[in-house]
């Protein structure tokens, strides 16, 4: 009995002590690369903690989809005040959980191509899916999705699997947005140029940098990393005349988080320069709101697609399975 009493007592004391601390604590769910040492997490955490005099607690899971799944499982019990790292293809499903409250932040300063009006999810960065190529190996890159689909089958591209990866789903939606009902035919053409289909972004991008694949599906801003961090000029993004599929990364306040005054503070902070300054060279994406100083000129040299393409997330959620099946039937032939 005796030796049981101490742990039980201390657990009880801890349990009592916890809510007291929690008043000054903000729990943010996010994904791993956000909290990585070179990610924006450490910078953002420091800046916000200095501003609010509180403690920010990041909980990071594998990626945006894992984030949504974790939240679905936890439901009302989730300790998360803020969920940061969903994207525009997941917002409808996330909203369907009924776990989110309005963010309450003015969208005046938010600048997303094609506009942004969501009252639940607030963007913190965006980018475009793009074909990134090795300029040392590809002399004439495709100038359109049509070029990519119909071009020389011996010039290969590594893509990601839409069943397992977010960029993979991005390409699927991109082709759908451009080709609509003809998407299956487009995939039949593109298939000839596909070197391989990898489970995630890392594997495909590794094929590009190891020299195995001359082209890869990635982001329009990927070359900025090589230019700024590595001083390497050979990787470029191809601009497609049909437009590029847009990815917007967003955060939302949970219903539980709506009761924590720090949540509103953080959401406002997220679209302020203190947060946005960290975005370009940690996320390698475009900031969603003004920064305090101009971006590195290299970002100015990145392609800026004229036409952002997007399929509403409700339509994505409802058709994803059918579209993936369509993709499977063509690509497995």
């Amino acid at each position: 009995m005796r030796n049981l009493a101490i742990p039980v007592l201390s657990a009880a004391i801890l349990a009592l002590a916890l809510p007291v601390q929690a008043a000054d604590k903000l729990t943010i769910y996010t994904y791993d690369s956000f909290t990585a040492e070179w990610g924006p997490g450490p910078i953002v955490e420091k800046a916000f903690e200095a501003e609010c005099g509180c403690e920010v607690d990041f909980v990071s899971v594998a990626d945006g989809v894992a984030l949504l799944n974790r939240l679905r499982l936890e439901g009302d019990r989730s300790p998360a005040d803020i969920v940061l790292g969903l994207d525009n293809n997941l917002t409808w499903e996330a909203a369907q959980t009924g776990l989110f409250a309005p963010h309450g932040v003015s969208l005046d300063k938010v600048a997303i191509p094609g506009g942004w009006s969501d009252a639940t999810f607030l963007p913190y960065d965006y980018g475009y899916f793009a074909v990134v190529y090795d300029a040392d190996k590809v002399a004439s890159p495709p100038a359109s999705l049509k070029d990519l689909v119909e071009g020389d089958p011996s010039a290969k591209i590594a893509i990601q699997d839409p069943r397992t990866s977010t960029p993979g789903l991005g390409l699927l939606l991109w082709v759908k947005a451009v080709y609509g009902d003809k998407a299956a035919d487009a995939w039949a053409g593109l298939k000839r140029r596909v070197l391989t289909v990898t489970p995630g972004w890392s594997e495909a991008y590794g094929l590009l940098t190891s020299g195995e694949a001359p082209m890869v599906l990635s982001y329009s801003t990927s070359p900025a990393y090589h230019r700024i961090a590595e001083k390497v000029d050979r990787y470029k993004a191809a601009e497609f005349s049909e437009g590029h599929y847009l990815q917007v990364e967003v955060a939302g306040v949970t219903r539980k988080g709506a009761g924590n005054p720090l949540s509103a503070k953080f959401m406002a902070f997220m679209v302020s320069p203190a947060f946005q300054d960290a975005v370009p060279e940690t996320q390698w994406m475009f900031p969603a709101a003004p920064t305090s100083k101009p971006l590195d000129p290299v970002f100015g040299e990145m392609i800026r697609p004229e036409k952002p393409l997007e399929i509403p997330s409700e339509e994505v959620a409802k058709n994803r399975k059918a579209w993936i099946d369509e993709w499977l039937s063509v690509m497995s032939r």
């Binding site: 070179w38 990071s60 679905r72 499982l73 289909v197 594997e203 190891s210 961090a229 690509m331």
Partner: protein, 537 residues
């Protein structure tokens, strides 16, 4: 009497059962709200991927295990030559490498722009499209599994009592005779187990299959399970698919056991002596060629990994606090997992042996037979329950208790320990059973039991296989990433985790450097195990 110390075995079984049962319980509880996904899992897509899964796994197993028999025999025939222990260490390194590293290593040689591309283009008289497709999957699987199978078969050969070799020499058996009468029976007894293990590893292959398969025509059940737990989070479907995977594997492994059933009276040596024959120069040369070929095949992709790794800023990496922390975390978790794994495995091996002996001395009930089967095989099928499924199930189970954060490292250790058991059991069982056959009666007559028996009789014999098992389990745990997708990673940032993180944010060179470190760590572990295993007690 054998039934007096029954505790560790059933405890080990219970541990495994709770780990898997808990995961299923969690997922089923979640699935109860919408069980429709389970029925939806059985469609034409499932039929196709089941066929592909089994086909590639069967081919991979054949291509890994058949050459491994020859390589193990060659290594066993030459117990000391320069570099032998290095080769044995090298053979364990693939286990510790994340699949993506191995895949990139294979592609550095056999890819479209690989080292052999010009040669292959010349041979095929056109452009070399790279080894994508079934061939690529097989090459990568053989890279992982041939060395593993060779090591485990060698373990079986080394469990052959010295007397047998001496007798064979005295009897002047030639190479062929000693193969037929000593080596083959010893390996054949271990073969169904080794083949089953390789088969299971190939059934559950994921990254390799997608990346080298060239497209979704190459899809395994494991991919479908992961898919079910991802975009459309559908636990019912995931559970149904996992059960299909387990059922198919059980069936396949049962068929294999039948094919390779160990003959009775295998080690009987009451046979006519043959002409005295030294290992012929031709035989030695053949062995050398075999070993060299296997080493080249395994070392090739590893060399590519080393070359890529050396381009990284290793000095900076090694001094980074984050890398050191990750290395320490990795070693700690892997050591804990390996110790647990070896203990569980030893308990199960001993239990199976005890039940087997009891069965031959009396009529055993159904329960005893079932337990014997479970101790021998049941736990091993855990390998085909995907870590993502175990992770997700336990996450659901632990959620109401609010123990998710604290549970992450425990989950990693428990799952890695159980996942490594098939390896550890393969390493321990031949030596254990052989020793038990020789010592049980004597020990009983002399009244040596318990701690004294362990220290005086079992330990000297089991020391080497136990250390091998530990090293294998550690290498395997070092490379693992699977369980914690939902848990949150703060407390379990391991080296492969860091590797994937760097790879996922453009830092390919750092990732290559970390892969090199992981490989070196595995090699060091194997060397340590080898040394510790050989020392006299």
């Amino acid at each position: 009497m054998p039934a007096t110390r029954p505790l560790p075995g059933p405890l080990a079984l219970a541990f495994v059962a709770v780990l898997v049962g808990g995961a299923f319980a969690g997922l089923l509880a979640e699935a109860a709200s919408d069980p429709s996904g389970a029925a939806g899992a059985f469609d034409a897509y499932l039929g196709r991927i089941v066929r592909f899964t089994l086909w590639q796994a069967a081919l991979s197993t054949l291509l890994s295990v058949a050459p491994a028999i020859l390589v193990a025999r060659a290594l066993s025939r030459h117990p000391s030559f320069p570099g032998r222990s290095l080769i044995l260490g090298l053979f364990a390194v693939p286990l510790g490498l994340p699949a993506i590293v191995a895949a990139l290593g294979v592609l550095a040689l056999w890819g479209r722009a690989g080292l052999f591309a010009p040669l292959m283009a010349w041979l095929s008289g056109g452009d070399w499209p790279g080894i994508y497709g079934l061939a690529g999957i097989l090459v990568a699987h053989v890279f992982f599994n041939l060395p593993l199978a060779a090591r485990l078969l060698l373990e079986a050969l080394e469990a052959v009592p010295l007397d047998h070799w001496r007798l064979s020499a005295q009897l002047g058996m030639g190479a062929r005779a000693s193969f037929r009468l000593i080596e083959w029976p010893a390996m054949r007894a271990a073969l169904p187990g080794v083949a089953a293990l390789v088969f299971m590893l190939c059934v559950t292959s994921f990254t390799i299959v997608l990346m080298l398969g060239g497209g979704p025509a190459a899809t395994t059940l494991e991919v479908a399970i992961y898919q079910a737990l991802r975009f459309d989070f559908d636990p019912a479907r995931a559970v149904a698919l996992t059960l299909v995977q387990v059922a198919l594997t059980v069936a396949a492994v049962a068929a294999m056991a039948r094919l390779g059933a160990s003959p009775t009276g295998e080690a009987s040596l009451a046979l006519a002596p043959r002409r005295y024959d030294r290992p012929s120069p031709a035989g030695t040369a053949l062995d050398a060629v075999l070993i060299a070929a296997a080493v080249l095949f395994v070392a090739g992709p590893m060399a590519a990994t080393v070359v890529a790794g050396l381009e990284a800023d290793l000095g900076r990496l090694a001094t980074e606090a984050r890398v050191r922390d990750a290395a320490a975390t990795s070693l700690l978790l892997a050591a804990a997992a390996a110790t647990l794994s070896a203990a569980l495995s030893l308990a199960l091996v001993a239990m199976r042996r005890r039940l087997e002996t009891a069965r031959s001395s009396s009529r055993a009930g159904l329960l005893a037979r079932l337990l014997e089967w479970a101790a021998g095989n049941g736990a091993l099928f855990v390998l085909v329950v995907p870590p993502t499924v175990i992770g997700a199930g336990w996450f659901i189970l632990l959620l109401p208790a609010g123990m998710v954060f604290a549970a992450a490292p425990v989950m990693v250790v428990a799952v890695n320990a159980v996942m490594a058991m098939p390896f550890a059991v393969r390493a321990i069982r031949p030596a254990h059973d052989a020793a038990a056959a020789r010592h049980d009666r004597l020990a009983a007559q002399l009244g040596i039991a318990g701690w004294a028996r362990l220290r005086l009789i079992d330990w000297p014999v089991l020391r080497r296989p136990l250390f091998t098992a530990l090293a294998f389990a550690m290498a395997l745990s070092l490379g693992d990433l699977g369980v914690i997708a939902l848990f949150g990673s703060e407390s379990v940032r391991t080296l492969p985790y860091l590797l994937m993180e760097r790879m996922g944010s453009y830092r390919t060179q750092d990732a290559a450097g970390l892969a090199l470190m992981l490989g070196a760590l595995c090699l060091a572990l194997m060397a340590a195990a080898n040394r510790l295993g050989r020392e006299r007690a």
